[in-house]
Amino acid sequence: MADSTIPTGTPDTGSPPGGGQATSGARISPISRARVRPTGSRREIVIWYLMRVSGVGLFVLALAHFSILHFIWDPANQTAQFIIDQRWDNVFWRGFDWLLLMLVLFHGFMGMRTVILDYVHHPEWRPALLWALYILGAVLFVFGTTVVLTLPVPGAS
């Protein structure tokens, strides 16, 4: 029989749907093989929707970003000076890449949260890893936003 739950540390016979903690016993659709829309916790429902909304945004922005920097330009040309002089010499591409960063920080970090919740059940490791994840996310937010905002624009100084 196909397993219809993500195991949550309870025996692998599968925990009852909706049982246990907010994110445990998350059900997997037998068709799409993704998490079905959670019930109960409002926070989990909001995250479920936002994963899909940010996913659509990333489908466009991330694939465009990858295509531009590998098919139009090539890593062989992308020195720091290239970023300053050509890639980020205008507000549009800085804004584009910053929006991409915001979407990826939400989508990637909430995705990793799901992975941790699925595999880590140790009562101390689980919150420790989640905190490490959120702190890493905050650090990347600061790093990424700092470089978008502070990198000099040619001719502006």
Binding site: D3, I28, S32, H70
Partner: protein, 133 residues
Amino acid sequence: MSRLPTLLRYRGREGMAAWAFHRLSGIGIFAFIVLHVIDIYLVGGNPGVYNDVLQFYASLPGRILEVVLGAALLYHALNGLRIIIIDFWPAMTVYHRVLWWGSWVIFISLGVPGALIILRPVWLPLLQQLGLA
């Protein structure tokens, strides 16, 4: 019941591969995003180190990793779209097998040319040596 890691446990037909690939590609992309935000920070923070990192990206091992990254990104994007279509348009459930195999057709038809472009510095000199380009 088995104690196999979740990724290896049988989840049935196409679905198991879809789910496992989605998770693995997601974790891989996450790892690259962490590296990439740090490397782009170096454009302002330490341009010399940034240029060294980009030189690695432009090398052969770097380009092979970029092809892997691009494949992970394209798979995750297409499979994610498939999930969203089925989630929000349940009538499409009837066609879930078409959606699955269709996403692989798109994956190959976009991915192979993309890989060839990224790996151009590898095969172009070979063709030139052979007098074919």
